[in-house]
């Protein structure tokens, strides 16, 4: 169920009521404008909707606690509608019109491919969570930082799981036709081949295509032993899972984190279809082998429950990522102020920012902030209270 803006506002309103904090005195100083480019509507909006819940919560908490030196953080949102053109329009308006200090987003790689060069030209610091490798480049885009993993990190974990743990050799790689999907297939297929896998099928399919049977039949007749889908489109992923189930084809599905989202789960024809589905996820927000969460994550879950933020139709790590991002930016501003160069300088020296979903570190040469070893594979149908168990046999 997609989140309408009405619902988003309602949950924001609910946060105000539930938190019971008194309205803070209106600061005499100007608010700090922060630009925000989520995809809240459109075919690739599942990520954006999830992240948005976390962001709204974090900004509210920061502002309730007095903001940054008495200045409130003003989140200026421009919904990209999953459309790179609108993302460009939005980015132009945020930088030139609203004169924001920092931009967070876009959250989809296809949109970031267009926006990152644009923000670089306007000298606006940018933090984004998109995975496509080329979206950070400390030389070309010195002000652009990524507080999420790269395709290399993700693919590495997933490919390792398929080849070394599940011990499958013949692999089918499928994605949609978005920028993210295409870039992922282009990145992962060579990675698989270099590890000795036999890629028997690779394809990009229109995410809206209702009938994926032809594709899966082609995979099957090519002898695929594992299916690796890379898409953020819950409908697309659910259809792959459903078709596999309808065909009665017993192969593991290993791939994008959205495979485990509540949205995907709701679209399954039978709950048992969710077996043998292994999406990637992140250790800090998963159950450790003993079945326990880290203290930080448990506390975060409590905070979400008391703020009545719904997790059932999304993924915990998106909300966590959304929660961490404004706090990261606020930390920077508290330390060094709002000047772009100062913020960039601060970020270049960031070590171990304690995020709920992971500790972020940057250097001047490395603008990819997520640690390698926190990327893990999980078992989709172990979903409980927003968190997953690690996938069977997973030890790395």
């Amino acid at each position: 169920m997609s989140l309408t803006r009405r619902q988003a506002l309602q949950s924001a309103g609910a946060i105000v009521v539930a938190s019971g904090l008194a309205k803070p005195a209106i600061a005499a100083k100007d608010p700090i404008p922060v630009g925000y480019l989520p995809a809240l509507t459109g075919p690739s909006s599942s990520t954006g909707v999830g992240i948005n819940r976390g962001i709204q919560l974090a900004v509210k908490e920061i502002n309730d606690a007095g903001g940054i030196d008495g200045r409130q953080l003003e989140l200026i949102t421009r919904d990209t509608q999953s459309d790179p053109t609108k993302a460009v329009n939005g980015a132009a308006e945020l930088t030139r019109g609203q004169k924001v200090s920092v931009v967070f987003g876009p959250v989809n790689s296809g949109e970031s491919l267009a926006v990152v060069p644009l923000l670089a030209r306007t000298n606006t610091p940018q933090v984004h969570p998109c995975w496509v490798d080329s979206l950070t480049d400390p030389q070309k885009y010195p002000m652009c930082f990524r507080n999420a993993p790269t395709n290399q990190q993700i693919g590495g974990a997933a490919n390792r799981y398929v080849l070394e743990v599940l011990k499958r050799k013949k692999v089918a790689v499928i994605s949609d036709t978005t920028g993210y999907g295409t870039a992922s297939v282009n990145a992962y297929v060579p990675m698989l081949k270099s590890k000795g896998a036999d890629v028997v099928y690779q394809g990009n399919v229109d995410a809206a295509n209702p009938d994926l049977k032809p594709e899966l039949l082609r995979m099957q007749s090519a002898g695929a032993e594992a299916i690796m889908p890379w898409s953020v489109n819950a409908g697309f992923l659910s259809r792959i899972i459903n078709t596999r189930g309808d065909m009665g084809w017993d192969v593991p599905i290993v791939g994008q984190t959205t495979l485990g989202s509540g949205q995907t789960k709701d679209l399954l024809e039978k709950p048992e279809f969710w077996a043998k589905v292994y999406p990637n996820n992140f250790r800090p927000v998963c159950y450790a082998p003993g079945g326990k969460l880290t203290d930080r994550t448990a506390a975060f879950l409590d905070r979400l429950k008391s703020a009545k933020i719904d997790m059932g139709d999304t993924l915990l790590w998106w909300i966590a990522l959304g929660y961490d991002s404004p706090r990261l930016i606020a930390e920077a501003m508290k330390s060094v102020g709002t000047e772009p160069d100062a913020i960039v300088g601060y970020l270049n020296k960031l070590k171990g920012f304690p995020g709920v979903y992971g500790d972020i570190s940057f250097t001047a040469d490395k603008h990819d902030g997520y640690p390698d070893d926190e990327v893990v594979m999980v078992e989709a149908n172990s979903l409980k209270d927003g968190a997953f168990n690690l996938a069977p046999g997973y030890s790395a």
């Binding site: 209702p210 009938d211 032809p214």
Partner: protein
């Protein structure tokens, strides 16, 4: 694989044929093609999913409500987009007015229902597999409509009245046939057929706002190839289209398949603009 191609191809061909028939019924009543034909198909699926899956109504009730929705859109098309422009000298205005209406319904659906393809409920609680209901439901719908229309046109007075206004509006009017009401009734009928197509095809096509433009195009191919107003031609052409498309899908995959279909369609149309079974139209001088 072959059985998948045949079953999917025939089923989807029936959906295309039904949309083609929708176009034809509207055309017969007004000599106008309406862009809303594909939108009706889309609504059949969306409304079916809305009433049955989302609101939990029983299948039969949801079905009737979906048809009612189609009838409503058909009537609105006639009143708002067709009737006002029939009087005008500008022949092309109907293309624009029906396009505008179709876009409005389309966008409204995209915003209110969402841009994601949502699942369509399983209508009959039978296990999946084999010759599944997602295949025979469209075929059954197509057969029912063809037989029903045949009976209507040949054996009922109102059906023959429809044929009369299709043949020659002036003569029909001179005979005292209420042209306007008949046209509205025709559009209502077309609306029901279009919604039926979308509903019967819902399990296959899902409840997706993007089905609108897709059906507008693919539903027109049977009309263009089978000849304007020719329902039998539309069915044959629709089935052939479905089979061709599915064969291409299975052999070369989605992207190339759609390019193949478009290219073949355009080439055939250029070779025979009146359709493979149609008659060339004389121009009045």
């Amino acid at each position: 694989m072959v059985e998948s191609i045949v079953s999917t191809g025939l089923a989807i061909g029936c959906i295309y044929a039904l949309i083609g028939i929708t176009y034809n019924v509207m055309f017969s009543a007004s000599r106008v093609f309406s862009f809303t034909a594909g939108t009706l198909g889309m609504l059949g699926g969306v409304l079916g999913s809305l009433f049955i899956a989302r609101l939990g109504l029983p299948v039969a009730v949801g079905f009737l409500l979906a048809l009612a929705g189609g009838v409503l859109l058909g009537i609105v098309t006639e009143i708002v987009a067709v009737r006002p422009v029939l009087k005008s000298l500008d022949q092309h205005l109907y293309v624009l007015s029906t396009l505008a209406l179709a876009l409005m319904v389309q966008q409204f659906t995209a915003i209110e229902w969402g841009t994601e393809a949502r699942p369509f409920p399983r209508l009959f609680d039978i296990a999946r597999g084999g010759f599944d209901q997602e295949f025979w439901l469209p075929m059954l719908a197509c057969l029912t409509v063809i037989v029903g229309l045949e009976l209507l046109y040949r054996h009922t007075l109102i059906g023959r009245a429809f044929l009369a206004i299709a043949e020659d509006t002036y003569a029909a009017r001179a005979l005292g046939l209420p042209e306007r009401s008949l046209r509205m009734a025709s559009y209502a009928l077309a609306g029901a057929i279009g919604a039926l197509a979308g509903f019967a095809g819902g399990e296959m096509l899902l409840a997706f706002f993007g089905n609108g433009p897709m059906l507008t195009f693919y539903g027109f191919v049977p009309v263009a190839l089978g000849g304007m107003g020719n329902n039998r031609g539309a069915v044959v052409a629709g089935l052939l289209l479905g089979l061709f498309q599915q064969t291409a899908n299975f052999l070369v995959g989605g992207i190339f398949a759609s390019v193949a279909v478009f290219t073949v369609f355009i080439i055939v149309l250029l070779a025979r603009p009146e359709g493979l079974a149609g008659a060339a139209v004389q121009r009045r001088v």
